[in-house]
Symmetry: C2
């Protein structure tokens, strides 16, 4: 039996691939693993059956045999540890790739989420415009630093890894803001990620949930 | 040669143990590893020598032999993978402990940082009071869910793990807000973490940097 992941029945991003199941789908595709998807309504996500799998009532989850996991980063790391394709063999390079995974979710993503949440929840508030430069500058600080480190390299540390998978996924959340346009190296990095066959298969599969048409 | 970590020469929290080097010190103590500390000024953190170690110009970093790492979560996980004491032996239980590490830094910590940053940066702004309930509610949502999951258990999933180390460290950032007081199970959980000998040794060591008195 292939593993089962959960995803939104009706994704808030309308199939743009920004929901966090995309990260897990991408990792499954990069490692060549088949998988099944169980779609959840927002109501079902808050029910005890799902909370038993995911204490914070979110998606994705991952079930395989007796193992149930939550948190996209943890699921991607689990897959990367069990299947070739997402982590280098060398122990030190492996630890560095994992550091990039944590950097993606703990250092780069939070100011991006803060900016996009403000755009959704506080756009009509009198302070929205006044706060916007501060929120954008927090993101720019991280993009400046990340772009400096990446330089002209293809990926963050040698070959494509789970660290790049997570970082590209996090940066994609910025596309609609236009902020990424000021960073040609990072824009090209994201485009390289999106061009990978594994990304394209994963993207098509999540889009098919929204359009109702089968992927591929 | 023991590994070398970096920490603030002058910690913004005045030795309350909230800087992220504390997480790494705690992991080193739990696993019984000696270590050296290199203290950095804020100016030194932005210099090329440090940026080569930490692309985002922060602390902590971890250097051992040819390996250099950044991101406290990644360093704790690296230590947990190499030394006994922070991850269970069973593969599935290990994956679940790592899921709690990611949950700590990606699901629970961001709204806590957002709340505390607003208190530092926006306290004088006309919108501060109006936004405060929203920021507090985001944190409470996570605390409600975490408290439900923890229930009357001692730790999040069986024995104390790197997942608890990260989660307790994240929750400690809330103490000054008073929000934790409404959650007796989580307060007791944090207190259990702080009572561990490894935590106490790590806390004393980071406090000694601030007071100028040797630890212990």
């Amino acid at each position: 039996m292939p593993p089962v992941i959960t995803a939104f029945e009706s994704s808030p991003d309308r199939g743009r691939g920004l929901a966090r199941d995309m990260r897990v789908r991408w990792a499954l595709e990069e490692t060549g693993q088949p998988y099944d998807v169980r779609l959840l309504s927002f109501e079902a996500m808050k029910q005890p059956a799902h909370l038993a799998l995911h204490p914070f009532g979110q998606i994705p989850t991952f079930e395989e045999g007796e193992l149930a996991l939550f948190e996209s980063g943890a699921i991607v790391l689990h897959l990367a540890g069990r299947h070739a394709g997402l982590l280098p063999d060398d122990a030190n390079a492996r630890a560095r790739a994992i550091a990039w995974m944590f950097a993606a979710v703990n250092t780069v993503e939070p100011p991006i989420v803060e900016l996009s949440m403000a755009g959704i929840v506080e756009r009509g508030k009198p302070w929205y415009e006044a706060r916007l430069p501060m929120l954008q500058n927090r993101v720019r600080t991280r993009l400046d630093q990340l772009s400096s480190r990446l330089g002209d390299a293809e990926w963050l540390d040698g070959a494509f890894s789970a660290g790049d998978l997570m970082m590209v996924s996090v940066l994609l959340r910025l596309r609609s803001s236009g902020l990424l346009d000021d960073y040609p190296k990072l824009s090209a990095y994201v485009t390289r990620g999106e061009a990978r066959p594994g990304y394209r298969r994963a993207f098509a599969a999540q889009l098919a949930v929204f359009t109702g048409k089968p992927a591929g």
